[in-house]
Structure formats: structure tokens, C-alpha cells
């Protein structure tokens, strides 16, 4: 039992934590989740924690809705996570 479980736990050699967007949603309907994950993981694969979301299409009131869990973001940035370029742009826009 222990050997089967430990093979599922992937441990990296020299990977680091990044905060980036994971794409989800249907055809012609993107939806990003702001996620803290290891660098080497697939874009939509297993992540460490979801820190928020972004809806890139404007809604009925002409707004692009984004949510950010600031407290956990601070925690991961304190642990030394890096940001991807679009994630940096988003955080820069929100001030």
C-alpha cells in the first residue's frame, strides 16, 4: 500500500513554486484559475492551492470579474513563489 501511494507523489529535482493561470472552461469560453503550482507541472494539472480566478470575458455590466485570495497570496509570495507574466500584469492592474 505504501509503495503504490508513494509513486503517485511526484517529487522534483530543482523545481520551484509559481503562481500562474490555469485555463479551464468550454470551447470559445475561457476561464482562468489563479493557482500556486510547481513549475514542472502541467498547466491544468495538480496544483498546490487555488488562489483565485479571472473571467476574461466581460459580463452583462461590462466588467471582467477577478477574485484574489490576498491572504494566501501573501503566504505563497512569502514562501518564495514566482509569478508568470500574465499573473504579474493582473496583480499590477489591481494595485
Amino acid at each position: 500500500a505504501l509503495s503504490a501511494g508513494s509513486r503517485l507523489l511526484k517529487s522534483y529535482r530543482g523545481g520551484h513554486v509559481v503562481i500562474r493561470f490555469a485555463l479551464g472552461g468550454c470551447t470559445n469560453r475561457p476561464f482562468f484559475r489563479i493557482v500556486a503550482a510547481h513549475n514542472k507541472r502541467a498547466r491544468d494539472g495538480k496544483y498546490l492551492e487555488q488562489l483565485g480566478c479571472l473571467d476574461p470575458l466581460p459580463n452583462a455590466h461590462g466588467e471582467k470579474v477577478a477574485g484574489l485570495n490576498l491572504e494566501r497570496l501573501r503566504h505563497w509570495l512569502g514562501c518564495g513563489a514566482q509569478l508568470s507574466r500574465p499573473a504579474e500584469k493582473l496583480l499590477g492592474r489591481c494595485g
Binding site: 483565485g52 452583462a60 455590466h61 489591481c94
Partner: protein
């Protein structure tokens, strides 16, 4: 979560030490006037059909059960807070001309930290012109409903709360359901909430349908509204028709507490009047429908005389 309550002051002249909606004395009076009709409070909400359960109890157990039912009814009858209208938020945090023209739509950022109360959340809007401003109250309500949905609320307020549709609801006599829906949908200090409530109270007062709200938790709010605007005549007549002398006296005491400078209040304080005398003084000085109230008072007194005689 309870919010800070402030006094509702629609009159222009400021007065010193006005009693607030949440004062103990005021709340006690309003609670007495609301009445405790257990049948109406625990009226069955539409649920699945179940055959009624019968329990066999001794006298003591029955009294215990009645006491618990009264306590639960008191909890259900707790009045929703009456607050002033909230002021629109208009705070610009930053202006970045560099970002102008880079985007086409507004970005709304919501802070999703779980342990922050909704009032203190940061909800910020970045306009296409680069201005970073705090979100207005409607935007805040919508975002909070999207990310932290509350039961009974819709993201966009239902069309029912528009004025032309309120009229239809009033014709069907469903004020109580409307007010419950309004409480679930809006914050207590939003202008929509206040507008719907005032419209409902006005309609009830125009058609003298006070009994619809009598044993519900909206009664206190309604009485507060009427007393602040001095439109208490219809309510007085209704109470006298139902032979509720205590309620009439408490209504007049509340009136005096809120408008201490009116002549009937001063006379009452001097003479320390009670009961029927208080009503007569009040009727002479304050009311517009004197004739009706005198008639109702006479009818009540005759009814009392016959009932004590027989």
C-alpha cells in the same frame, strides 16, 4: 451579522438626544405592540406533506413546551434593523495614465480572504482609463453574491422590486412575503431596501391593512416609520376597534418619546395621565381624524362597560 444601528431622522431640525430604534424602551414598546399570535408566527411554511405527530404530555410538560414555543417565537419576531441610507462610495485610489488605452473593459478585483467580514472587503475597479477606484455599493453586493452566495439572494435584484410591480403585490395582500424577500435580497442600509419598505408601509397605511403585519417581525419597523412621520391615526383607530388598550397607550408613549416638544406630550408629562385620559389628550391635540377616533373610543368604552357589567 448585526450591523451598527443609527437613529432614523427624517425631520430637518436636529434634536438633542433623540431616542434610537435600538433603545431598550423603544424595543420593549414595539415588541408589546407586535403581539404574540403563536398560530400566525408558526404558520406552516409549504413543505412536504407529513401526517401530524401527536405527543402525550403531562401538564408540566405542556407548560414547558409552551414556554419553549414562546421563546422561539420571540427569536423569530426579532426586528430587522432600521438604518439610514448608505452614502455612495467615491474613493479614487490611484490614477495611472500609463495604463490608459491598454484595456477595453473594466476589471473588478475582489478580495477572497475567507475570514474578513463582507463590509471590510476590498473590492476595487480598474477602469479602462487607468483610474483605480473603490467599487460602488451595487457592484460590491453583486460581487459578494457571486463569490459568497447567500441563500435567498439573486445576483441581479429581481424585477419584482420595481414600483409598478409592487402595486400588483399589494393588490394580492402579500406584503409579508414581499418584506421577507426584501430582507433576504438587500442589505438593511441600501436605498432599495428602504424604498421598498417605505412603499409597503405607505400602502398598508392607505388601505388600513395593519393586521397583515401584526404578529410578524416587520410590525416594529412599520410603527417606527409611522410615528416618525406622525401618521398614526389609522393605526390608533384599528387598535381601538380591536379593543387593544395597552397597545394604544404604548403607541402614544412612543410618540411622546420621539416628539417631546408637541403639546400632548407636555400635557401628559404634567398631568402624568394614564390610559383613556392619555388617548383623549392625544386625540385633541395631534390627530387629523379626530371624529373617527372619538367614535372608536366611545364604542370601546361602551363595549368595556357592557362586558364588565355582564
Amino acid at each position: 451579522q448585526r450591523r451598527v444601528n443609527r437613529a432614523q431622522c427624517p425631520l430637518p431640525a436636529p434634536r438633542p438626544a433623540r431616542p434610537a430604534f435600538t433603545d431598550e424602551a423603544v424595543q420593549n414598546l414595539l415588541h408589546k405592540m407586535t403581539g404574540l399570535n403563536l398560530e400566525k408566527v408558526f404558520k406552516s411554511v409549504k413543505k412536504e406533506l407529513k401526517p401530524p405527530t401527536y405527543k402525550l404530555m403531562t401538564e408540566a410538560q405542556l407548560q414547558e413546551a409552551t414556554r419553549k414555543a414562546i421563546a422561539e417565537a420571540k427569536e423569530k419576531l426579532r426586528m430587522p434593523p432600521v438604518l439610514d441610507e448608505r452614502e455612495p462610495i467615491d474613493d479614487v485610489l490611484a490614477e495611472d495614465k500609463i495604463l490608459e488605452g491598454t484595456e477595453t473593459a473594466k476589471y473588478v478585483f475582489t478580495d477572497l480572504t475567507y475570514s474578513i467580514p463582507h463590509r471590510e472587503r476590498f473590492i476595487v475597479v480598474r477602469e479602462p482609463s487607468g483610474v483605480l477606484r473603490k467599487a460602488s455599493w451595487e457592484e460590491r453586493d453583486r460581487m459578494i453574491q457571486i463569490f459568497f452566495p447567500k441563500e435567498g439572494r439573486r445576483v441581479i435584484p429581481p424585477v419584482l422590486f420595481k414600483d409598478e410591480h409592487l402595486v400588483t403585490v399589494f393588490q394580492q395582500d402579500r406584503h409579508e412575503d414581499l418584506l421577507n424577500m426584501c430582507i433576504a435580497q438587500f442589505e438593511p442600509d441600501s436605498p432599495d431596501y428602504i424604498r421598498v419598505h417605505h412603499r409597503t408601509y405607505d400602502d398598508i397605511e392607505n388601505h388600513a391593512k395593519y393586521d397583515l403585519l401584526r404578529s410578524t417581525r416587520h410590525f416594529g419597523g412599520m410603527v417606527w416609520y409611522l410615528v416618525n412621520r406622525k401618521k398614526t391615526d389609522g393605526l390608533l383607530i384599528d387598535m381601538l376597534h380591536r379593543d387593544l388598550l395597552d397597545d394604544t397607550t404604548s403607541l402614544i408613549t412612543l410618540y411622546h418619546m420621539l416628539h417631546p416638544e408637541c403639546p400632548s406630550a407636555q400635557e401628559a408629562k404634567e398631568g402624568n395621565l394614564q390610559g383613556v385620559e392619555l388617548i383623549k389628550v392625544f386625540v385633541k391635540t395631534e390627530s387629523q381624524k379626530e371624529g373617527y377616533i372619538q367614535l372608536a373610543l366611545q364604542a370601546y368604552q361602551e363595549a368595556m362597560a357592557t362586558s364588565t357589567a355582564s
